[in-house]
Symmetry: C2
């Protein structure tokens, strides 16, 4: 009977690191938890955690922490809303904000959040619809169509936001239904200087000393919701070595990518993306230098871009690590050999690797315009969305451009009509800089550039376009959208006129990408996904897709720069790092922290690290103990975690979180927000 | 006239990093100081710094800090003396020590310190004596002989310790005369736990939080000396960006080594050394585990070995860095090309590289016995010294084994008759472990191993040897030495008997090494040293040789692990790091620091980093400002400095020092040693 185990499926198990994995809630890592931690989460535990978790459509995660809709996330996730709610006079980013009563809470301009209420496997239905199609393009169209249909039907039936999610590269398709909230009010935010203490230098590193939290309250029909599923606040937080979970929405990983895809990332895409990001930051910093108000306007965007640069640089370093690529190459060779060993698998899936490699070659040939043609302008983006919107919604759902399917329209309109302010001077600066970069990076006869510049210098074009547009006014956008294709066709708004001229080119680009790259990658990826199931079984987790995932791990220090990074930091460390730099920015402390020092117990744990497998998008995720209580708030990964897009390296990969003890201590003693603590803890 | 500059000497300048260099006091980096810092040290400034500096013959550096012989060095330099002065009942390492009066000061058992009082260039005399010799071996003997003669003459003439120092690989020879002190008394030492806070993990890293200081008082004729040259104590310490100097005794660097020598280090020597060190630490840790008293006995030796392991690992990593070796290869190629370009240089020096490469090959063939035959035992070492001593002193000075020249005998006798305790159980454990390792690493017919074991197991041999020896008693050693060759030949002491048996083999090994490796390396090294002068001029500094050097630099943070390491740390950081590890060893705090916390100004600078170019041996060196005041105390390099043996990498290489502000704060508020501060500051 021993022979029975010598089949390919059993011999070739996927080798996961301890604590690796961003698991879907339908397939949690029960075996691993039992073996290493002797813990078995019940279905009720899993449901409670899932329903307490929130996806923030600004790009992060969050969780309910009181029965009255109080929602905890990161300051840096809330930052966009704080920025949009601030003015030259009231700077909530610099000064923080606390609504002592519900009446004082501030409505967030355009924040949507989603709670995952159900999951349904629709793989069979998708595959059935695709079956007869001839060739990658036809399959792509058929898949797109059936997915839109499933989403539309579900939304009609349930009224819930309904997304078909591709998992395991297309090995599975799931219908995820979300309860959607769009009325969020800002309740609490600390000063940015303490939320993001250490600034860009300390970003993505550890030890850290940040209080990166913000609280919203979720409303429906003008009243705070009853959030029956919420995480009980544990003010003692997590201890060294303790088992903890993170429930949140990792945005994307590429761990199942083929070596050809990784090489495309390394040698083609990432260097261009880094060039683009750095150029944008330089332009925004030049704008900021004009004055305090300009600096305020640009701050959040600079923040986001610098974050992106550091993340991309970490990814890029990972891709250049010979050991990483070597491991990937070896894994792929083993996988290919296992497929090649079975005639049936080889004939169905054996060609997928080469197909992907060919698609990458095609992509490489056209990537420069894709990256550099895009103008950096909120007005231009809105204009493009309006022009596409009025045309797309007249088509059958399955034939529309991505992003314009029925099930997506509510969220799209919410963003399209956002009252967030748009500053003309800022728009001109961004647009000018991006046109200058495009001129540098693209050939003189680039079609988009020719249309946008139209014989003018970048600055002249940017000024004319921004000054000739009224789209900064949400009412104007509404009028155009409501007027439909006729109103858009008749508009003389400069940005709309431009978007109309660029529309054919954009459509051609999208179709080209879908036909030559996406469809091929999707089909080949799906083949690899199925091959992986056939060879290894469903023993692993799918790549991240900005959908809800559960990771497990423990509070744990790690070897760092010749010594050991501690499992946690304390308030002592905050004051040390500030004094170490003579309190110079970005290591300066808000006045409240200087004056309040003696009120604090300085030994209170501030931030801590865990081995949980997370990635961008997990920002704001709760850290949860066995009892289902919240013990921390994810806000970053360490520098060693940045190649995590491609591989999880357990020895040094760490998630960085704010400790609930620090949040409790600061809310109580520095912000005098005992009321919030009472609401969360259930009051004394 | 432009052509004039196009000679090899001008075109090919040695490229030094800013702040690179361990400069001799006869050739300080005046030009660099003027150009970058607009500072010109006067001769009086240089003399004052030199005469305030002290070489500690336990392997470190120090400086006078009061007019009454108060000498500041590191706790870890004083550690050996503290260990030797401690007993099972009074543990000065664990508890620290403070002599409030002179009467309470404790005499250090065997510490010698030297002050460099004069320097004289004797290159011409050495070269003249070597001139006629035929071949490397004859040159080696002639050089050895003339050097011993110069030293002997100088000692007779002046009564000063006189060492001929080889600089620039033999490009220059200098006679260094030292005022020697052997009566040192321990005045102050903090608890080892605060001197070495963070233990082995934090060793060689930064940020650090160590108060690594100790104070001795230097006596002569039973009275404290008048130290007219001393560094004035500046309790404000150094500031970020400030120009600072380090005056101390870097023990050795290999920056002028050829690529062949570096490759020998990398692929042959360092892996064996690391294996030896790790095996010794494992044995000592096993011994420590037997009990508290055993742990106390072994602590300082473990400390030293772990320090060595971490340093060697850092060197080893450096040697494996392709960029480092590549740079070395390129430098060597340029140097060789410049030599080859001139017929005269090529014929004199062009063969040196290949000669060295051949010597390395010879060395590689016999390195294993050289490393693993040496028994780890204080008694065995003393016995060997005695057996060699009584034979050597009967020979003419120039013919003796290294270490036994007239000018060295005083210091040698001081060590040979040291009253420091020797623990039999500890001796047996060390000797057993080293014999076990030798058995593992050497062939069964190794001559030394056969003699030592003599058919016994390692443990049996160790027990018999240790128990059969009375050399732990200094009086016994004195009797033997005074009895001369006859007494030694008649001795039945087990260790002396063994040393007699091993003596012929030891002599053969030393001669083989001198004839086949050292003499070749010396001659070829001297050729390269001269060639370097001919090509580049005397624009650089010689490799370190545990002689006094001056380095310059500035207080400065550096890029570290994705962020910035601060220029300094504070007491806040000490409490943070301790609390971050839940106060577990090696991050626990002495009781005094727990109780005294509220007395301290926690923002006081504790440790700081500078760009000064230092290396092992600089421990205890003063950090000095432009005014010639002491502003800090070197105690370590960061992890990035460890390849500094081979190359100075200015972007990240940092010296780590204790800030005078922290020493002042702690002496005053935690140790209540105001009296010492008054003596140093001259205050009330």
């Amino acid at each position: 009977m021993v022979l029975r185990f010598l089949t390919a499926a059993s011999v070739a198990a996927v080798m996961l690191c301890a604590e690796e994995g961003m698991w879907t809630f339908d397939n949690p890592p029960i075996r691993q938890l039992q073996e290493k931690y002797h813990f078995t989460p019940t279905q009720a535990w899993l449901d409670h955690v899932r329903l307490s978790s929130v996806r923030m459509n600004d790009g992060g995660s969050g969780s309910f922490v009181s029965p009255h809709g109080l929602l905890l996330t990161n300051h840096h996730v809330a930052r966009g809303q704080l920025q949009k709610s601030s003015t030259a006079e009231r700077d909530y980013i610099r000064d923080g904000f606390y609504a002592a009563t519900e009446a004082e809470e501030i409505k967030a301009p355009d924040l949507e959040v989603n709670v995952l209420v159900s999951m349904e496997d629709v793989t069979a239905r998708v595959n059935e619809a695709v079956k007869g199609a001839a060739g990658a393009e036809a399959e792509f169209a058929a898949r797109k169509s059936v997915i839109a249909q499933i989403e539309r039907e579900s939304e009609k039936q349930t009224g819930l936001r309904s997304d078909v999610v591709t998992l395991y590269q297309g090995g599975e398709y799931w219908l995820y239904r979300y309860k959607k909230y769009t009325d969020l009010r800002i309740v609490f935010a600390p000063e940015a200087q303490t939320a993001f203490f250490g600034g860009d230098p300390d970003n993505f590193t550890y030890p850290r000393y940040d209080l990166d939290l913000a609280l919203f309250r979720v409303y429906e029909n003008g009243k705070p919701i009853d959030s029956t599923n919420y995480l009980k606040w544990n003010p003692r937080g997590a201890e060294d070595g303790e088992l903890v979970f993170v429930s949140g929405n990792p945005a994307g990983t590429q761990r199942q990518d083929t070596v050809a895809q990784l090489e495309f990332e390394r040698s083609v895409r990432e260097p261009l993306i880094l060039k683009l990001l750095k150029s944008r930051v330089a332009a925004l910093q030049a704008y900021s230098a004009r004055g305090q108000e300009q600096a305020r306007q640009a701050a959040s965007m600079i923040f986001g871009l610098q974050n992106g640069i550091k993340a991309y640089e970490g990814r890029y370093r990972g891709l250049q690590d010979p050991a990483l690529i070597e491991k990937k190459r070896k894994d792929e060779q083993e996988f290919r050999a296992a497929v090649a060993a079975k005639q049936e698998l080889e004939s169905r899936y054996g060609g997928a690797w080469d197909e992907i490699a060919r698609a990458e070659q095609e992509a490489a040939a056209r990537i420069r315009p894709l990256i550099f043609e895009d103008p950096d302008s909120s007005l231009a983006n809105l204009a493009r969305t309006i022009v596409e919107y009025v045309a797309e919604i007249r088509k059958p759902d399955g034939k529309r451009l991505r992003g314009f399917h029925d099930a997506q329209l509510d969220s799209l309109r919410f963003r399209m009509f956002s009252p967030a302010p748009i500053y003309p001077e800022f728009e001109i600066a961004r647009l000018t800089a991006s046109l200058e970069l495009a001129k540098q990076e693209l050939p003189a006869d680039d079609p988009v550039l020719k249309i946008v510049l139209d014989g003018r210098t970048p600055r002249q074009a940017a000024e004319a376009l921004v000054n000739g547009s009224k789209l900064a006014d949400p009412a104007m956008r509404k009028t155009l959208v409501e007027g439909g294709e006729a109103a858009v066709a008749a508009s003389t708004d400069s940005m709309i006129v431009l978007a109309r001229k660029l529309d054919p080119h954009h459509r051609e680009m999208i179709h080209w990408e879908e036909d030559h790259v996406e469809s091929v990658e999707q089909r080949a990826g799906e083949q690899l996904g199925r091959a992986r199931f056939a060879v290894y079984g469903k023993t692993t987790y799918p790549d991240a897709t900005f959908t809800l995932r559960l990771s497990y791990g423990q509070v744990k220090g790690y070897p760092m720069n010749g010594t050991i990074a501690p499992p946690k930091t304390t308030f002592y460390g905050l004051y040390d790092r500030s004094a170490s730099f003579d309190n110079k920015p970005p290591f300066n402390l808000p006045e409240r922290y200087v004056k309040g020092r003696d009120q604090l117990d300085l030994a209170t744990p501030l931030d801590f690290v865990t081995t949980n497998d997370i990635i961008g998008g997990n920002s704001g995720s709760p850290v949860i103990n066995r009892a289902g209580e919240i013990v921390g708030l994810i806000f970053d990964g360490n520098i060693e975690s940045l190649p995590g897009d491609f591989v999880y390296q357990g020895e040094t990969n760490r998630a960085v979180a704010v400790h609930t003890a620090a949040m409790t201590e600061a809310l109580k003693k520095l912000y005098h927000a005992q009321k919030l603590l009472d609401e969360m803890i259930g009051g004394e």
